[in-house]
Symmetry: C2
Subunit: 354 residues, 2 copies
DNA sequence: GTTAGCACTCAAACGGTTAGAGTGCTAACA
DNA sequence: TGTTAGCACTCTAACCGTTTGAGTGCTAAC
């Protein structure tokens, strides 16, 4: 073990104190704590060791100590381990009242639910929150609906599991009679409903074209629209809320940092990678991940930490929630809040599937 | 006339210089200009007068002068008047290349077009841009489409003029057969297509209910959804872009100003009022309006100016564009850019209606 | 292994001085 | 009478030396 018991305690104390105050913490402060009743000099010796090991640094010679990324990593790992050992129910923080209300009141429009969720989490934690819309690659087609709009234009509404609805306006090469359209509608739904993207393969596609008679162009456009709905970036949009919370933390607003961060959030580029793409199945969807400082794969967030969770809306429809805050964020509270929210969410969707 | 020719020139010069530098401008600076070849002392006398009249102020005793809201108002009015007099084509700034490309390439999804427009305008002007989605109260119903989703749930897709599409998932009290649904579909479209919100009145509604036989509950829900599409806030969403441009202007970022401004933009509250609700018909849709400082009806924008324009996508579908910048923004460029964009937009939609 | 004591370092706050930009006023000028 | 040169005055921002206080590292004693 690299760190003996006392060093660990001191490191823990330093980090907690720094999280509360945001100021470098000195040896006197630590020595005053009940659990660590040593003289400042002793603490200083230990701190010097901790610094040598890379867990803390001094901003300048005569200042107190501040945790490094490695320090935070130690702290977070230990906290997560403790949480995992203890009774999972004990510190499962119940979502705050507005969240309770949101989650029990059933909302059909997924987008609205996700946006509200982001807003409430941001307001609750005082950190910035982002939620990716459900990632639907493994999702299934519920049904589709073609309607005539005007000459050579049809509206294709594609509905996936989890009630993800997307509209596509298609320009086609021929004019279709109401009847033809009805037939196509029937045929396509008959063939495609309940299938996932993978299941709509080349064989099936050529079969469809055959059945469609002359309207191959239309079929192609419709299939494109379906593929789009499954895959296209804006079929899983990203909702953010509480961007201005970063102004609460001076370490995030110096220089151009604030501007860059907010730009990233506004343009919603790179956010997907920040939050971690949906990963392999081995990961439980209750898994909570913490990325600290340089571990975050987005440049403008190198001074932040990001805590992510995966939510599931039944049917294998998954998305991610990310909470972005300063490295000295209250990891404990954030992790518990996310766990609580996920837990509740699961309950709801389990129930509604019965 | 309150201001003689020379005072006007000096005021103009002060404002232009201040716009360029952002620093208070002194008498020496002005006296060096070719058009105003007087000694600093003379200029000083005039400046003292202008200050007494409320057009300019000194931040402190020994500083140069800075325009007041009244000063800007004078400047803008005069500029707009000049623009109106001269050949409108002369200074019609053609939209920058990316905008040209965007506008000639036809985009069917209105939302996408508007968002892109906001982005390009923001990038072009270096100011924050917001675009309200088309305001559709006077719009007409193109068609609607009911589809069965699962027991007791139907999807109602409502399409308005300008191809504004909105999905509504309705929970209904009874189970409907495919056939009934088809009939309702047919009946509703038959009755409602082409009507505006006002034309769907109580008489028509009770008639519909009669025709629908037992399915009054369904009809009510569908009509609610239609009304929603016409009226509900998110049927004319607000797109913003370039929020971080405000960091270019120190006068907007002091204290909590930046945070408040970005909050306003993020939450998209109050933005509607900032941009000015769609007003009476008397206003030409080519009309450009400038709100300076306190004239902006949003608290967090009291240090900004907002320039708005109304766009039209044919069919009387209108929306607004607003450019938000510091009071010392380049009004001329902004006004010309907006005019150019509106002009081009009109061309496109006129053409596509033929 | 722990602690008291002490010299040392450094950032931040304080205060006085200076430099410079710009003003208002007055008196002379055209 | 309008314009200008000259001058004293004001105020901010920058500069600089000093002080203060928090915190350290080291050493020697317990």
């Amino acid at each position: 073990m690299e760190l003996d018991e006392r060093k660990q305690k001191i490191l823990y104390a330093i980090i907690q104190n720094y999280q509360e105050t945001g100021e470098p913490v000195g040896s006197r402060t630590i020595s005053k704590m009940d659990a660590l009743n040593f003289s400042p000099a002793t603490i200083r010796n230990e701190m010097a060791d901790l610094e040598e090991l890379g867990y803390i640094v001094q901003p300048h010679t005569s200042a107190g100590r501040v945790p490094t990324d490695k320090g935070y990593r130690f702290y977070v790992d230990r906290m997560l381990a403790e949480r995992a050992e203890s009774d999972p129910r004990k510190d499962l923080q119940l979502p705050a009242a507005p969240m309770q209300e949101l989650l029990t009141k059933r909302i059909d429009r997924v987008e609205e639910l996700l946006l509200k969720m982001a807003q409430i989490l941001a307001a609750n934690t005082n950190y910035t929150t982002m939620v990716t819309g459900p990632h639907s690659r493994r999702n299934k087609l519920k049904f589709l609906q073609l309607s005539a709009m005007e000459d050579r234009k049809i509206l294709a509404v594609v509905v996936l599991g989890g009630n993800i609805v997307k509209n596509n306006i298609l320009e086609i090469d021929e004019e279709l009679s109401q009847e033809t359209l009805l037939n196509l509608n029937f045929m396509l739904n008959n063939r495609l409903n309940g299938l996932s993207l993978e299941e709509i393969n080349l064989g099936l596609i050529s079969q469809l074209k055959e059945e469609a008679g002359g309207h191959i162009g239309v079929i192609e456009k419709v299939l494109d629209a379906v593929a789009d709905t499954f895959a296209k970036e804006d079929s899983y949009p990203i909702y953010t809320s509480g961007a201005t919370n970063i102004f609460r933390y001076p370490e995030l607003t110096g220089g151009d940092k604030a501007s860059e961060l907010i730009s990233t959030l506004e343009e919603k580029k790179e956010l997907g990678s920040a939050i971690g793409e949906i990963s392999n199945d081995s990961e439980s969807h209750q898994d909570i991940r913490v990325y600290i400082g340089d571990e975050v794969p987005v440049d403008s967030m190198k001074d932040c930490s990001v805590v992510t969770a995966t939510y599931e809306l039944g049917d294998g429809v998954q998305g991610k929630i990310g909470i972005i805050g300063p490295k000295r964020m209250n990891y404990q509270k954030v992790v518990d809040t996310l766990k609580g929210t996920m837990h509740q969410l699961d309950g709801i969707f389990k129930k509604s599937e019965e």
